[in-house]
């Protein structure tokens, strides 16, 4: 069976005044029909740029510099702008990270949701409006008939985020790219949205790519997860295995820096140091300046992903050290 979405060796460059920056380098993953794929990683690691590249929505200074994006076999990297416009919405859609920058401030929210169904599903004015109201209800906006006529600034942060989700789902796409779709939602509404998305996967066979910093949210929705750092994937595999037993020191660091309800307020342990600047990426393993397990080999080591178990890959040459550290202190006790 071929995957619904197949990303192969994708690279993106951003042109700046001081040269081209490698924002995404050789990213590969697959999402099967009805499955959800999670993408996590530090702020600035290239998650949003990757999603925008899939849909051909990169800012003007950025461009795909290599690789393939296949939607049911069709290569989107070489597709025409015209074809991409047909795809966006009814075939593959996106929930953007910052709703205010993606919504039209002078258009009523209901009309913004109804726009897609009118253009792509051939619905008339009232049919599209009815669909918009139904979607607003599904994403938990109270009193949708009346809130239909509001403008984005009249909505709360979380309500705008739900409008974005309604727009993304409005034309029944095969793939939905979700960039931090629930960060502005309280946990009860988040729960409702996650249920809605998992039901879509199970019932309509929709595939999801899900970017979030909230690792437990990934555990709720996704089957597979990849960890990104400085534009590259460092580890990839089934969620249940990666969160229980990471095989990359960076993943381990991420899991350990999350606040939880057990620790008493003794200060959190962020990963030491800060993410590298894209202008001066370290050679060898990009994580080596911050890695507690680094050896001399790491600054020259190859960074290819290695298969370490069924469906599991890691870029760390000393993944046994990350495993060993967990013998003393498991991630999940």
């Amino acid at each position: 069976m071929t995957a619904t979405l197949e990303v192969e060796d994708l690279s993106v460059r951003i042109n700046s005044r001081r040269g081209a920056l490698p924002a995404v380098q050789g990213v590969s993953f697959e999402v099967q029909r009805g499955q959800a794929f999670g993408l996590v990683g530090e702020s600035g690691s290239g998650k949003s740029i990757t999603l925008k590249a899939l849909l051909g929505l990169l800012p003007p200074e950025a461009a795909i510099s290599g690789g393939h994006v296949r939607l049911d076999g069709e290569d989107l990297v070489t597709a025409s702008q015209r074809r991409l416009r047909q795809i966006r919405g009814p075939e593959m859609s996106m929930v953007f990270q910052e709703p205010m920058s993606a919504l039209n401030p002078v258009m009523r929210v209901g009309d913004q949701i109804a726009e897609g169904p009118r253009l792509h599903l051939g619905l008339g004015r009232s049919g599209a409006a009815a669909r918009a109201v139904e979607l607003m209800r599904k994403v938990g906006i109270p009193d949708p008939e009346r809130r239909f006529r509001s403008y984005p600034h009249q909505f709360s942060g979380g309500m705008r985020q739900r409008v974005m989700i309604a727009i993304a789902l409005s034309c029944n796409p095969r793939v939905v790219l979700c960039d931090e779709p629930t960060t502005a939602l309280d946990v009860t509404i988040q729960d409702q949205i996650l249920r809605l998305l998992t039901a879509l996967c199970a019932e309509s066979g929709t595939s999801l790519v899900f970017v979030t910093h909230d690792l437990p949210v990934i555990a709720q929705v996704c089957q597979t997860v990849a960890v990104m750092y400085a534009g590259r994937i460092l580890e990839r595999g089934p969620v249940s295995e990666i969160f229980r037993e990471p095989r990359h020191p960076y993943t381990l660091g991420l899991l350990r820096s999350a606040p939880n309800f057990e620790e008493n307020r003794s200060g959190l342990v962020p990963i030491a140091g800060s993410p590298p600047s894209l202008r001066s990426l370290p050679g060898g393993c990009p994580f080596h300046p911050r890695c507690p397990f680094a050896t001399e080999d790491c600054s020259t080591a190859a960074t290819e992903l290695r298969v370490v178990a069924a469906d599991r890959v890691t870029a760390c040459i000393h993944d046994d050290r990350a495993l060993h550290a967990q013998l003393l202190q498991p991630v999940i006790s």
Partner: protein
């Protein structure tokens, strides 16, 4: 840790603060005389104590950002008032009050000037408010940007050149630049990965210890709230329904909404989607509030009295209840173990001589 939790002196006080928006409505709405005014915040009393971190959590759309903006002086309350160090704040705040109460917005994209580099923006602000001597302005800007975990490179970039989380840190640096006494932070870490989030939380903790910074912290991530805050206030539809010291709120929540909220927290190890949802039903429209208790349409404990009487925030009549202190206030008729007795009027009702119209809760 200092014993900051023991701080009691209020620095910023909200007295019966309400904020309403005129939603205009359609011609048909006007014709039918339907409610057009949306009461986003409806009579909130809250003390922010010097040096504490108070969390404001609750339903999306319950009025947290609106309350925060009113507290920061960005929208005038339509009822009630704020007091700062005991002084009532007028509708227009002077430069010093503005500097001393700073806010980080939920949506950093729309709150940063797109035509200024981050360095220009910070330097201008530092000069305008004379935070440091003129010859130290550039160094201070660099110090701030490093403190929020970015590199000095960031000073030369425009807001659009950042990732979402980087932009949020720029917004935090801007608010901290003015060395405020009170920082109102609306979802300041929700776009940050856990590692950077830890850096920012540690920075806020340090500022509280070193500069006695007071924090009103709005967040949806309850693990973060649990970690950072001394007290938690829970909002539902424009009202505060529960306030308590953090430990107490998480171990013995007393409002049914708070319990639903805590039950819905996702965990790393199990999936919730197989289980029943923590809260049934949809939140009612803020334009057509239910009579009596606003949570009754979704409350598993609702009784007829809940439709008649609007419960007010009250502390326990008996502080000997387990896990209960006088610091813990709840707006529910049955918060402290009172039986939901169908026949007997509630204690509140007994005090209110005037009988209110009876209405059945529209619960299914």
């Amino acid at each position: 840790m200092t014993d900051r939790a023991a701080a009691t002196e209020p620095i910023l006080t909200a007295r019966a603060v309400s904020v309403s928006f005129d939603t205009g409505g359609t011609l048909a709405d006007r014709f039918r005389r339907r409610e057009r005014v949306l009461r986003a915040v409806d009579g909130v009393d809250l003390d922010l104590r010097r040096g504490e971190a108070l969390a404001l959590v609750g339903e999306s759309g319950s009025g947290k950002s609106t309350f925060a903006k009113a507290a920061a002086g960005l929208i005038p309350p339509s009822g009630g008032e704020f007091a700062f160090e005991g002084r009532t704040l007028g509708a227009r705040r002077d430069r010093s009050d503005t500097r001393r109460i700073q806010m980080v917005f939920q949506d950093p994209y729309s709150s940063l000037n797109p035509r200024m580099t981050v360095g220009q923006m910070l330097r201008e602000l530092l000069k305008f408010h004379s935070v440091v001597p003129a010859d130290q302005v550039a160094a201070e800007a660099a110090r701030l940007i490093v403190a929020v975990g970015l590199t000095e490179d960031a000073l030369h970039a425009y807001p659009r050149q950042f990732s979402g989380g980087q932009r949020q840190r720029v917004a935090i640096a801007r608010a901290l630049a003015l060395r405020p006494d009170v920082l109102i932070a609306d979802e300041p870490v929700s776009a940050l990965d856990v590692s950077v989030q830890a850096t920012i939380l540690n920075l806020l903790d340090e500022l509280r210890a070193r500069m006695n910074l007071t924090l009103l912290f709005i967040a949806h991530n309850l693990a973060v709230v649990h970690h950072l805050c001394d007290r938690v206030a829970v909002m539902y539809l424009g009202r505060i329904v529960e306030v308590a010291p953090t430990g107490e709120l998480f171990t013995s929540p007393r409002h049914p909404y708070t319990r639903g909220l805590l039950d819905a927290i996702p965990r790393l190890t199990d999936t919730r989607t197989g289980m029943a949802p923590a809260l049934e039903g949809d939140p009612p429209s803020p334009l057509a509030l239910p009579s009596g208790c606003r949570f009754r349409t979704r409350c598993p404990m609702a009784a007829p009295v809940c439709a008649r009487v609007d419960p007010q925030l009250r502390t326990s009549p008996d502080a000997r209840l387990p896990g209960q202190s006088f610091e813990h206030a709840v707006a529910c008729h049955f918060a402290f173990g009172e039986r939901p007795d169908e026949e007997r009027p509630s204690p509140v009702e007994q005090r209110n001589a005037e009988p209110a119209p009876v209405e059945r809760p529209s619960r299914r």
